[in-house]
Symmetry: C2
Subunit: 173 residues, 2 copies
């Protein structure tokens, strides 16, 4: 470890999480993926307090996951519609669903993903697009990208140096 | 929508999220993926209060994401080592990292995944394993699995019936 830590928000995972914000946001996204668009639909589905739901929807609109579209002038009412950025989070949720089904559904999955055209069940996996290499902890290392600060580069180097020893204490996947 | 809602924890996404628990857990997992195993290492990396970190590590050990291994008897000290279940969450975090890099790194990614053997950068995507179909919102529907309750089956049917109309209001991906 180094004494100079990179800024917390430089990490793309921390940044993604600070964008999605909290668990409610992922459940709101999940419901938006299911086709819900209206305040009372989200509220009914989630059983969430109005003020919390309003704050979440406002935040998710500001950061560009949802877009607000008026469907009534009097009273003013809006549909909350997924943006391209919001829709692109779907694969992350799909990978999370697959993990939940593998590890947390001893009675068998209650929900699975399937092809919309054929109905054939999908088995979501995370792969490197060009080579189709599975993205697993053992196959992957982290490297600095073009936007990395000096502190981030130093930290990634220190990880690389320390990692093999630490890894050998871990269980097999 | 139906009047009979399935139990909230039947959804594999809600279940995964309730397992991982809160944002701190994902950042702890991230650091565990980087090879950190000790209380003070996590604390230094995350700048998190001791009591919160202790609670999180306890929870993550109880639900089987981490395993506690003593490395000192006096004082009693432990390594927190990833289990197979914890390691299997790595692809989810990899997909989240890719999303963060695509949408939240206008200055260019600071961290990217790369092949451990060759150093070639990876581009994580979520695909159906057998057919390699991309898991996108447009290609996918939800179907009841063998563990679905009657309420869940009814809800999935009501979603299927209402979805096409709702979808047409959404923007292109």
């Amino acid at each position: 470890m180094t004494s100079t830590e990179p800024p917390a928000d430089e990490c793309p995972i921390a940044r993604a999480m600070s964008c999605v914000g909290e668990w409610w946001s992922i459940l709101i996204l999940r419901d938006a993926f299911l086709g819900l668009t209206r305040f009372d639909e989200f509220q009914k589905s989630l059983g969430i307090a109005s003020n919390i739901l309003a704050r979440r929807l406002k935040h998710m609109t500001e950061i560009g996951l949802l877009e607000r579209r008026p469907y009534s002038q009097r009273p003013p009412r809006y549909d909350y519609v997924l943006t391209a950025r919001g829709r692109d989070f779907f694969p992350v949720v799909g990978a999370m669903l697959a993990w939940g089904n593998r590890h947390l559904a001893p009675e068998g999955p209650s929900v699975v993903l399937a092809a919309r055209d054929s109905g054939r069940p999908f088995d979501p996996v995370v792969l490197d697009g060009p080579s189709l290499t599975p993205i697993t902890l053992d196959a992957v290392m982290l490297v600095a990208g073009p936007g990395a600060s000096a502190a981030m580069i130093e930290r990634l180097n220190s990880i690389k140096a320390s990692r093999p020893t630490t890894l050998s204490t871990g269980p097999g996947a």
